[in-house]
């Protein structure tokens, strides 16, 4: 069966090279049949990659340990869901998933647009073919998931921390996001190569960008929740290089989703949009490089190997290619109009873009700094949390404020007088919120107080927008249905506000106490009293579970258990935290037991109370809902677009 997998990947590689070379020649020489042939090669590359993926999935389900990959990442004790999730638990499998999603996305995007945008898709095929060539080459020559061996009786098993329901969904979500950014990149490159730099590539990729951005954003929140419940340090985001690797392309894509509206409305920022699309794509490949190369120390770098130099070479070559293309087509990207006023919607988008890109680049510098110091000084120096927190506050708080001001500013220009009148209600709401927060003692943290006040301001602007819009159209449903992108976007803004409230609450106002507790001893934290009721040890087939049991009294009465699991295969420990959620307050009682002695009953325990942390997870659901509203196809808009693009279509 491994032969079939290998053959499938070799076929994919051949097809990808063909779609790159033949597609490039066809587009350059304007040859119809060769272009159709290259397009068919792209479709077939998806089918052959699917065969390869099916072979690996079958080997995983059958526990076929003659596959080195299956033996390295699973064992016979692993439940089916985690056995299948091992597909992306290792390096070779995750690269295969990258290629599968890339060829699938690419084939679908080309198939959908091939009639309406024939001149553009002729150039998109070789670009996607080029990216697929790289990934299929790595899978064929450097990191094959189909290497075989004499089958051992059992496999090494999956790292315990990956045996979590969130890990079944989090990596594929991220890959759908990372790879999804290839589509707008390929269309942007196609537009530059063909010299057709009008809006058509934006129209063709609008939903692809939005979908990729949604998957990347939601995938990160799933990852954050996994870190919170599984890694067991009480946090959800540690500014780890691999976490940052997913955040950076998301920030670049967020900037693009905003700035592209300026190009659509005013024909401005064409160069900037090209740069952002290229940046988002390069950062997505760079993220895969960081995760898979082992070049940086990260708890998320589950696989380390020699693919690093290949990825680095690809990032460098594709970056140079993108920049050269943009420079070459600069004369075609000149804007016809200028910014009319510093107080206008387009100006607000520009400020938002500058802040988002500044945040993205400061994070990039934080990620690159250890690598740079290693190269220059021969010693690795890392950048810690205070650096990232400082820049998050510096750029994040003004971004939050802009999120409220932007929607209330009109396109082209707004007078200061008009703006102040429009902002009066939200400003009053924010002022009241600030006074109330200070009165109830929330003034102990200035960033927290500012975040809450700005959050109130943004929520008030959304309400004002919805109320005024509903009055103007007569119905909320009609209002949203007429402009799903805008009102879906407002819901996403509301999700960001919830996220900001959750982050501020759980970091600025959290309580943490560490104690060594003998049997029967108690400790009190933020209204909860915890009493040590003893330690149990429960040996099972592949794991021994040690748990300390703590009776809780106060805001909640019951028992909470925390400890660790010691797995036999793989012989690794896993920390198991105890979490009790108070949904009314949105807060968690979070218990970490570092040491638990079964004989004496002595435990070393850390108890955290994290106010409003659950708003972060609620934000994820609101974010998903808002994104889906913005994504939802609009038949009326589609008809308008077809009519608009038809004159340019053959």
């Amino acid at each position: 069966m491994a032969d079939l997998g290998r053959a499938a990947l070799i076929v994919t590689f051949g097809l990808a090279v063909y779609s790159l070379v033949a597609g490039g020649i066809a587009a350059r020489r304007n040859e119809r049949r060769l272009a159709a042939s290259a397009r068919n090669a792209l479709y077939c590359s998806f089918a052959s990659t699917l065969v390869g993926a099916a072979v690996l999935a079958t080997a995983l389900v059958r526990h076929d340990f003659s596959f080195k990959y299956v033996a390295a990442h699973t064992n016979r004790h692993l439940p089916v869901a985690y056995t299948l999730s091992a597909f992306w638990g290792g390096q070779e499998g995750s690269l295969l998933l990258w290629l599968l999603v890339l060829t699938g996305y690419g084939a679908l995007a080309v198939a959908i647009n091939r009639r309406l945008l024939r001149d553009l898709t002729a150039w998109v095929v070789p670009v996607i073919g080029g990216i697929a060539t790289f990934f299929s080459f790595v899978l064929v020559a450097v990191a094959s998931p189909f290497d075989t061996q004499t089958a051992p009786f059992d496999g090494a098993g999956l790292t315990p921390s990956l045996q979590n329901p969130y890990m079944v969904a989090h990596p594929p979500m991220l890959y759908l996001g990372y790879v999804g950014l290839s589509v707008p990149f390929a269309f942007a490159a196609g537009a530059l190569l063909s010299g057709r730099t009008d809006e058509r590539w934006i129209v063709a990729t609008r939903r692809w960008t939005l979908a990729a951005w949604m998957f990347l954003g939601f995938g990160q929140l799933l990852g954050a929740h996994w870190a919170y419940v599984e890694v067991g340090w009480g946090g959800y985001y540690a500014w780890d290089p691999v976490e940052n690797a997913a955040l950076m392309p998301w920030l670049a894509a967020t900037a693009f989703l905003h700035s592209v509206m300026v190009q659509e409305r005013k024909g401005m920022l064409k160069v900037w949009n090209m740069v952002l699309v290229a940046l988002a794509f390069e950062l997505s490949v760079f993220g895969t490089f960081l995760t898979r190369s082992g070049v940086v120390n990260s708890i998320h770098s589950f696989a380390k190997s020699s693919i690093g130099p290949w990825f680095l070479a690809f990032v460098v070559i594709s970056s140079v290619f993108s920049l050269a293309l943009i420079m070459w087509r600069l004369p075609l990207l000149k804007a016809k109009t200028k910014l009319e006023s510093a107080i206008s919607r387009e100006a607000a988008f520009l400020y938002n873009n500058l802040l988002l890109v500044a945040l993205c680049l400061t994070i990039l510098w934080g990620v690159l700094f250890p690598i740079v110091t290693q190269l220059v000084k021969g010693e690795t120096r890392t950048i810690g949390r205070p650096y990232y927190d400082f820049f998050l506050r510096t750029f994040g708080l003004p971004l939050l404020l802009l999120m409220g001001i932007g929607p209330l500013v009109a396109w082209r220009k707004t007078s200061l007088r008009g703006l102040m009148r429009t902002l009066s209600w939200p400003m009053a709401a924010a002022a009241v919120a600030g006074i109330v927060l200070v009165a109830i003692g929330a003034g102990s943290s200035s960033p927290g107080l500012i975040a809450y006040t700005f959050s109130t301001f943004v929520l008030a602007t959304i309400v004002v927008e919805l109320v005024r819009g509903t009055r103007a159209t007569g119905s909320l449903f009609t209002l949203v249905a007429r402009n799903r992108r805008r009102y879906g976007g407002y819901l996403v803004h509301a999700a960001v506000v919830l996220l900001a409230i959750g982050i501020a609450g759980s970091s600025a106002y959290s309580s943490s106490v560490e104690r060594r507790l003998a049997l029967g001893q108690s400790m009190t934290v933020a209204g909860y009293t915890l009493t040590n009721r003893g330690v149990t040890v429960d040996p099972k087939a592949n794991v021994t579970e040690t748990r300390a049991h703590l009776a809780v009294a106060g805001r909640w009465n019951g028992t909470i258990s925390s400890g660790d699991n010691q797995y036999v295969n793989p012989p690794e420990p896993s920390r198991e935290v105890g979490i009790k959620t108070d949904w009314l307050r949105g807060q968690d009682l979070y218990v970490i037991v570092d040491e638990a002695h079964p004989k004496t009953g002595l435990v070393f325990v850390q108890v955290l109370v994290k106010p409003l942390i659950n708003l972060i997870w609620v934000a994820g659901i609101v974010f998903l809902f808002g994104s889906l509203i913005a994504l939802w196809p609009d038949a009326r808009e589609q008809r308008r677009l077809v009519a608009r693009l038809a004159p340019a279509a053959p």
Partner: protein, 95 residues
């Protein structure tokens, strides 16, 4: 299994060669790229749609109170003019 692999490769070759198998000799093998006239028309449609959308947006912003009467009057004229220019250009015979 290797036979399945060979069949897979053969099927891929046939599909890739299909455009040439269907039309061994093509009367016109040029890719149907938009002509200069198509391209010009598309740009004009883009400008017309942009101008009309801006007008619609201004109306909505005025109705919702985002744009006051003074700003509305100031912005309306140039936008109407831009829309009229775009519409006239689209109606005029192409060169």
């Amino acid at each position: 299994m290797i036979i399945v692999g060979v069949l897979l490769a053969a099927a891929a070759v046939v599909l890739v060669a299909l455009p040439f198998l269907r039309e061994p000799v093509a009367a016109d093998d040029r890719l149907d790229a938009p002509t200069e006239a198509d391209q010009r028309r598309f740009m004009l449609v883009e400008e017309r749609d942009r101008a009309l959308a801006a007008l619609k947006e201004l109306e909505f912003d005025h109705r919702t109170g985002k744009v006051d009467d003074a700003d509305y009057r100031e912005l309306l004229g140039p936008l109407r003019q831009a829309a009229a220019v775009a519409l006239r250009a689209l109606d005029s015979p192409q060169e």
